[in-house]
Symmetry: C2
Subunit: 133 residues, 2 copies
DNA sequence: ATAATTGCAAATTTTTTGCAGGTTC
DNA sequence: GAACCTGCAAAAAATTTGCAATTAT
């Protein structure tokens, strides 16, 4: 389990109870949108306001603690910042799974006349469970 | 130049002047968000309403005429539906350029226990112009 | 002690909806 | 002529803002 308090402090953010619980929720869910963070966090801290979540989602992105995952036709989800990876998104059950970017993939993404800094790769299809179901 | 009227009719949509001008705007821009479509289209058809754009963006997506390009920290852009491709997004000037998915890339994206149906690849970095500037 | 953060309520922005009148096929 | 589409205005949903009280360092 990540230590959310030091994660925040290391990135110049005060460690409030609101922030650590938002981070815990994101971490446990893997990928989660604002409304679902709110519902989850409110169970433990009923006074925590949606405005606080909005403000913190912005500031935590700015301070490299979390990352936005924009998606077609639905609200963005958020994940903890971690090594660059791809998303396997199941078109049936909606599950989003992280998977490593292999050296071969890196290699294949070298494009002429473009200096690559970062990539965002979403693969849509059928996860193992839904293939068998 | 694409024939927007038949593009619409082939996809079970009536060819209204509003729809053809939205498509023309998207086509010329390459990738454009709703507000910019509205601004552009309104110049020619001042009575065209934002509600009509919202409604048509939805219906044109359902009918496979256009595709949403969701982006971090800004409103989604839309593009005409075309062959699967990657986006090269310049972090300096913001330009979005399409580039082909090579067979080698396809190959590299074969993942165990995942039946791939579609991919969405955004590469962020510096375009040629901004590298030299 | 200081500066930052929270929660509330209000404001703003974005998106959706209902419906009368107009258009496409 | 039937079904569909548009534009308006109003409603609903999503996000941001201002500020007094509280909290972290």
């Amino acid at each position: 389990m990540t230590n959310y308090i030091s994660l925040l402090k290391n990135n110049d953010l005060k460690a409030t109870i609101q922030r650590t619980s938002i981070l815990k929720t994101i971490d446990h869910a893997g990928h989660i949108n604002i409304d679902d963070i709110y519902d989850s966090v409110k169970e433990q801290y009923p006074t925590l306001s949606l405005a606080t979540i909005y403000k913190n989602i912005i500031v935590m992105q700015e301070n490299n603690v979390i990352i936005e995952v924009p998606l077609n036709g639905e609200k963005s989800k958020y994940e903890l910042k971690k090594e660059e990876h791809m998303h396997l998104i199941c078109e049936v059950c909606g599950e989003i799974k992280d998977t490593q970017i292999t050296p071969a993939t890196k290699e294949a993404l070298v494009i002429e006349n473009f200096r690559l800094k970062a990539s965002q790769i979403n693969l849509f299809g059928l996860c193992e469970k839904c293939q068998n179901a």
